[in-house]
């Protein structure tokens, strides 16, 4: 779209340079043309919208049986990850980036809350984010396709150390995940990040 329009623009600039004092033919408009360049963008928008809805539904789909449920609490200026029913908790602080450990390839249900101001949970790798608004709980599913460690940020400006409000997601094989979980719940107290 950009290339077409920009191309037209450049072409008209080159072709229709002023070469004298004569007035060019004074054209006031052309209704057929107006209609054309109203309808074509309209069609493009409709197509884009259909694609959007499809993409949106996919991004927002929720599994009936998520493999894991994590309660994420956003606070100034770090995160607390609580693994439901396992008694495992990971708490970070501005200097100490908390790590969320999850199994690969399985839907992870995130239950997101805020303790104070509006934050936003964002892992660029997942192409998804969600605001954490105090007084509301919001849920969404994330499925990580590849093993690895991914950076996460708070992306809703939340005060002084907003830029320090980082976290990491460590995606591991299901077996590794189980052993991490077992070890973490055995040690009892909230795990320190970077296990």
């Amino acid at each position: 779209m950009f290339l077409v329009v920009a191309g037209l623009l450049v072409w008209s600039m080159l072709r229709y340079r002023r070469r004298g004092d004569e007035l060019p033919p004074q054209i006031h408009g052309n209704n057929k043309l107006e209609l054309t360049w109203t309808l074509i963008p309209l069609l493009l928008v409709i197509v884009l919208f259909v694609v959007t809805i499809q993409g949106q539904n996919k991004a927002l789909q929720r599994s009936t049986r998520p493999a894991l449920e994590v309660d994420v609490l956003a606070f100034q200026w770090s995160w607390r990850f609580a693994y439901e029913g396992q008694g495992v908790e990971v708490v970070g602080s501005p200097g100490n980036v908390p790590e969320l450990v999850v199994p690969v390839g399985q839907p992870v249900r995130i239950r997101l809350r805020s303790a104070d101001v509006v934050h936003s949970f964002y892992v660029p790798r997942t192409l998804f984010k969600r605001q954490a608004i105090p007084g509301r709980t919001t849920e969404f599913d994330l499925t990580f396709e590849k093993v690895g460690t991914y950076q996460g940020h708070c992306v809703q400006f939340c005060g002084l150390a907003h830029d320090d409000m980082l976290f990491r997601v460590r995606v591991v094989s299901p077996g590794e995940f189980q052993s991490w979980l077992a070890q973490a719940s055995r040690s009892g107290s909230p795990s320190q990040p970077g296990t």
Partner: protein
């Protein structure tokens, strides 16, 4: 064809045209008020720009080298606030104030004293807001959007935030009052013969812009009042612990905030619609379509506010997604019409025309990225990242600045009687064009890589390169702006005399002298089309009707 002498009041013009300070304090002349608006807005622009240069210096490399976190947060807050709310809208109001009565053949606006009050309220609002730099705790550090609960007194103490609220409330009142004035003027004070569909497109742009102001500003005024009450008087509108909702604020803010960006840009569309026909030597292509497009954009702008809230999980997504993408249709109509005006014409590449062409380019980029942002899955990825920052800087800064400067170059001769230097103008143009693109194009990439907004520092060292490039670009832009300022002062003193109509313009302001007399016109021709000055120039030598 005889011109009709419209007898104008015999005003006491004994005093000199050169105005002193007192003259500006007591003026009710729309031309002087327009100049006051433009100068004040431009000063605010320079201030906001300096803030941006400062924090771009900080961002150039990972690590905190130049300032602390709090200062950074304050700087980007005030930068955003003054640029969007105290510069962008008011520079259009200023140009509109000066030009619109001339374009419709009126002697002044409908309520000249109220017009003066609008300006003073704006100035005082700006001063109140800037005074926050001098109080304990410094200015607001909430982001220009000031979402509660962060902006509530529990999390951001100090009077800086309150002064921010009051300053903006004053500017908001100024805008509403000004809008009543300008809308009334356009409806009621057109010279006989100028029907609505013979008005110049800049005037249409101002009309729609001021109508949007009338309908949008009450929402932000309400939000600001509620925030002030929450902060200082124990209310709990936005506090979940008291039964309030932070989402409420977001709705109110964006119900205003989205139309606000159209408030900013629609007069700019009007400026482009004036410049392109003149320098293509053709009438504007599809005048009616452009008028309907103005209204279409304005109408749609009220229906899309929650596209700023896609990631809240608190709104109905498809409604806002569809309407957001639909705005591309009337906007596209305008772009095609401008190109259509150039097509088949005889184009001269003066500085105003270069600015107009650059406008079309940058608006294409900004507009298309905006349509993408309207697509929810894309927005889930790039909302609150530098992709959004790049998008809105393309539409609200690049487009705005090119249209604004184009307008300055175009109308400076009318306002002062002298031409701005073309040579310096071209330097200014290219520095601005190159500088802007260097600064902001890389930010699309940063956003796609996930760099969040409003962060004083970033852990990913790989982002350092793009950030450095961006900072370099911002300084190139700054040099371009300095060239303009230099051009302005030099041309004011020694610019080539312009005469009444240096560009062979189309609209009524080119019929009168440069600068116009106090009461604007010595005589007004009969109006037969949307191009009265053109008609006057091209009337046949016989007494037959023009055209």
């Amino acid at each position: 064809m005889a011109t009709t002498e419209v007898p104008l009041p015999a005003l006491p013009e004994a005093h000199e045209e050169r105005a002193g300070l007192v003259d500006y304090l007591i003026t009710v002349d729309h031309k002087k008020i327009g100049v006051l608006y433009i100068f004040t807005a431009f000063a605010v622009f320079l201030f906001g720009g300096v803030l941006a240069l400062l924090f771009r210096l900080e961002l150039a490399q990972p690590g905190m080298q130049v300032m602390g976190q709090n200062t950074y947060n304050q700087l980007f807050t005030i930068h955003g606030t003054v640029m969007v709310l105290l510069f962008a809208a008011q520079v259009s109001t200023g140009l509109g104030n000066y030009l619109m009565p001339l374009q419709i053949g009126a002697a002044d606006v409908a309520f000249p004293r109220l017009n003066a009050m609008s300006y003073w309220l704006y100035l005082f609002g700006t001063l109140v807001l800037l005074s926050s730099f001098f109080v304990a705790g410094g200015p607001a550090a909430s982001g220009w959007t000031a979402y509660p609960p962060l902006s509530d007194s529990k999390y951001l103490q100090g009077t800086g935030m309150d002064l921010w609220i009051i300053g903006l409330a004053l500017a908001g009142i100024a805008a509403i009052v000004g809008a009543v004035n300008l809308v009334t003027t356009i409806f009621r004070m057109r010279v006989p013969g100028m029907t609505m569909f013979r008005m110049p497109l800049f005037t249409w742009g101002i009309l729609v812009n001021q109508l949007i102001i009338l309908f949008a500003f009450p929402a932000i005024t309400a939000a600001l009042a509620m925030l002030l009450l929450d902060r200082n008087f124990g209310a709990g509108f936005f506090d979940p612990a008291r039964g309030g909702s932070p989402v409420l604020y977001q709705h109110l803010f964006w119900f205003f905030g989205h139309p606000e960006v159209y408030i900013v840009i629609l007069p700019m569309f009007g400026i482009i619609s004036e410049i392109v026909p003149v320098f293509s030597r053709q009438p504007i292509f599809g005048y009616r379509a452009l008028v309907f497009a103005f209204f279409g954009i304005a109408a749609l702008s009220f229906g899309v506010w929650a596209h700023h809230m896609f990631t809240t999980d608190a709104i109905y997504l498809p409604f806002f997604s569809l309407l957001t993408m639909l705005i591309a249709v009337p906007t596209g109509i305008k772009i095609f019409n401008w190109i259509g005006t150039m097509w088949g014409g005889a184009i001269s590449f003066t500085t105003p025309m270069l600015c107009a062409i650059a406008f079309i380019f940058v608006f294409l980029v900004g507009g298309i990225t905006g349509v993408f942002l309207g697509s929810t899955p894309i927005d889930f990825q790039v909302n609150d990242t530098y992709y959004v920052v790049a998008h809105f800087h393309y539409v609200m800064v690049a487009a705005l600045l090119f249209a604004m400067f184009g307008g300055f170059y175009f109308w400076f001769p009318k306002m002062t009687g002298r031409l701005l230097s073309e040579r310096l103008g071209k330097w200014h143009f290219w520095l601005l064009f190159i500088g802007f693109n260097v600064t902001f194009f890389v930010q699309f990439n940063l956003g796609l890589e996930g760099m969040p907004r409003r962060i004083a520092d970033y852990p990913e060292r790989s982002w350092g390169t793009y950030n450095t490039i961006s900072t370099v670009g911002s300084f190139i832009m700054a040099i371009g702006i300095l060239v303009f300022i230099w051009n302005f002062f030099v041309s004011l003193r020694r610019g080539r005399p312009a005469g009444d109509d240096p560009w062979e313009g189309n609209s009524l302001e080119w019929v009168t002298t440069s600068p116009p007399p106090h009461h604007n016109f010595h005589e007004i021709p009969e109006i037969h089309s949307e191009r009265p000055a053109f008609d006057l120039r091209h009337r046949p030598p016989s007494e037959a009707d023009a055209r």
